[in-house]
Symmetry: C2
Subunit: 424 residues, 2 copies
């Protein structure tokens, strides 16, 4: 049997092979990387020192002897942190997961099977869409406004599915700094969503990965889980508040559900030293850390936003997110951003094309997601400028950049918008 | 919707809820825990210090910027370590996994689907059996000898399946310190197994979790992967050489296969600090560490073996494993060890009943697996003594313990074996 012979033995459902990793692009706006300068190297080292000297011998035991829910001091920290989101719980109510990606797998696998119907926000986390497509479930995108899910249209949609005899089993939402749009769902929508869950008998799956990274919004509503733990499963992560190389997330649900999630988690525990270091560091430094990190992110977002305004003018639009790490950028409807992917990458510029973040791919063809957390301010400014140059070279857009007209041939039309552009 | 209402929404296939964790038993012979005194706390702390100070800022990037195969220095270490098992490879051929449990999930999921046929050793890792049962595959147990798989009977079995039109797609084996029997498959059997894989067109799935923990065998044969990478997938782990709370394992296969395993690994990477600390520590201390750890294990095995001989006499039997952390103990055929589970646990003594480690559960009803790595020598001796007392109280066996006859009523029969018992 040759090597290709062994490849012939894989199941028909197995995904396409991964390509060899060839390194990260210079102007890297893809994925959910964080700010390297936001990693508190000395404090983390000190935390590792303390906790390993104190409890390192427990590495000999599965789950550090703390049972399948995970490292006890980390669960205690999470319980305390969730109190800030209105959630009343103890460490026994929390399951530590290997990142929130594992939480996604476990919760989807518990409630969904081939043919189930799930509602997601029309634009949502690409990795969620991929998981759901692999599970062969029916995915319906609920329209978004600048305040998260359009709750009126969601209700219409739930009613229509109910009448069709295809009831919705789950609504997956990122209510607090939505990915990719950066919106926050207001209190009234949360209350309405809970009422709908009781009426139509579905699970609310609340993903709050970004809720600790808000610097420009007042009065963020409490988590949906805090309002209705009986119909909600809640997950979160330390990927965004610390770093995504760590695989540390958590899930909370009433025990009748959490006990089944634990039963599905057949990984013999999540990585112990990651858990120990996060618990030790954040138990002492969480609020200071967030002040510092959100300060960095706020500045980087300003740089990106200014660079976009300078390079693209009023031809593009975006909602300035009050937190998080992403800017969701709208190009004119006639532009399919996927045309830019390859030429941009050739110049070292990487972005996430909207269709990958869309329940209905084509609906987001003129959008792109840009992560502003990883690159330095200089690289952000340079990368956005390059992106606009590539965009102009490929598509002839934007015709005006940095207030200078690029194309003489189309001058008159562009001039008409001149005032607007300088005013932006 | 009440809480039980949400539980009604879980899929029919979801497993039974997990029970609340209530702590570990005092005399803990279950699972694959390691020796706490074998954890090099100071050296691990120093390793964490060095690596976090040097590369901690990379925690801001998924996979520490090293791509989906995992932390580069850890892959380099694994490649070097595998050379000792006869494997010629580079760091680009190795995937770091979250423990070998993740390797199991990925490889089973790549090659097996509902109805596939797999051969495992008749006694094997319970967690493998559970995974395979969840996948609804047909599991066939290949008979074991004191030299691992009985290769003649394996061939008969493969031929029979071939004739039935139900060809075997995979043979899963733990050839080097088999779990639970502790045997080592000799070179000739490995060669024959490879020839059979080519003839009958199946994947050899080689699990070498324990191969670095051998202290009483000479000339351990090279890994099967080294002999036939074109038909083999190989996994290993640091759970046994360091500690199972760490979730760090690895998989190696030719790129046509590994690239598909990577594609299935949708977890956004394995825990970074776990990987970093293992790489930093083992890159400098691997052989010293193994000398120290195997010394500890060897001593604990001797204590357990002496305690068994003293408490159970010749009524039980076992093969003394040349390495690893388990002793596979045979009771007389008429004893079902599951009868002892509850009363033993009530006295703080926990063991793994054989049926959970058996492809055909009932075939192992008179066996139990005992892990000797975790408890102190005192606790081992005390726990085995307690186990024999419970066994006698429940089943009337062993009638003789510590050379003293327990049951007057059955004295004559017992006396006949007296000489053998003292000689053992």
């Amino acid at each position: 049997m040759s090597s290709s012979g062994l490849a012939k033995l894989v199941t028909a459902k197995s995904p396409a092979p991964t390509q060899r990793f060839t390194g990260l692009p210079k102007y890297n706006f893809v994925g959910g990387h964080n700010a390297p300068e936001g990693i508190p190297v000395l404090e983390l080292t000190a935390a590792a020192n303390s906790v390993l000297q104190r409890e390192g011998h427990l590495l000999a035991l599965y789950n550090l002897s703390h049972g399948p829910l995970g490292y006890q001091p980390l669960r205690e920290f999470v319980a305390g942190k969730l109190a800030g989101r209105g959630i009343s719980c103890t460490s026994d109510d929390i399951l530590i997961t290997s990142g929130s990606t594992q939480g996604l797998n476990l919760v989807f696998s518990l409630f969904l099977e081939q043919g189930s119907t799930i509602v997601v926000e029309e634009f949502t986390y690409s990795s969620v869409l991929n998981r759901l497509r692999n599970q062969e479930v029916e995915i319906i995108g609920a329209p978004l406004t600048e305040h998260g899910i359009d709750i009126v249209r969601l209700e219409e949609l739930l009613e229509a599915q109910h009448k069709k005899g295809r009831p919705v089993r789950m609504v997956y939402t990122i209510p607090t700094i939505q990915n990719p749009t950066g919106t926050i769902m207001p209190m009234e929508s949360r209350e309405r969503l809970v009422a709908l869950a009781r009426q139509y008998n579905f699970v609310i799956f609340e993903d709050e990965c970004y809720a600790d990274l808000i610097w420009a919004a007042d009065g963020v509503p409490p988590s949906i889980y805090s309002m209705a733990p009986d119909v909600t499963v809640h997950i979160g992560s330390f990927s965004k508040t610390l770093g995504p190389a760590l695989r540390v997330g958590y899930a909370i649900a009433e025990w009748s559900i959490l006990s089944r999630i634990v039963a599905l988690k057949n990984d013999a525990g999540s990585g112990a030293i990651d858990q120990m270091v996060v618990a030790e560091y954040f138990s002492h430094h969480f609020s200071n850390h967030l002040v510092r990190l959100t300060g960095i992110l706020d500045e980087k977002l300003k740089v990106m936003s200014e660079a976009i305004d300078a390079a693209f003018g009023s031809g593009v639009s975006y909602h300035v997110p009050p937190g998080g790490i992403f800017l969701w950028l709208k190009f004119p409807d006639y532009i399919d951003v996927r045309k830019l992917t390859a030429p941009a990458l050739a110049a070292g510029v990487a972005f996430n094309p909207g269709p990958e973040w869309s329940a209905n791919g084509e609906a987001a063809r003129s959008w792109m997601r840009l992560c502003f957390a990883l690159p330095s301010k200089e690289i952000i400014a340079e990368g956005i400028r390059k992106l606009s140059e590539i965009c102009y070279a490929e598509i002839g857009f934007p015709e005006i950049s940095g207030n200078r007209v690029r194309s003489q041939s189309r001058l008159p039309e562009s001039k008409m918008n001149g005032d607007d552009i300088t005013a932006r």
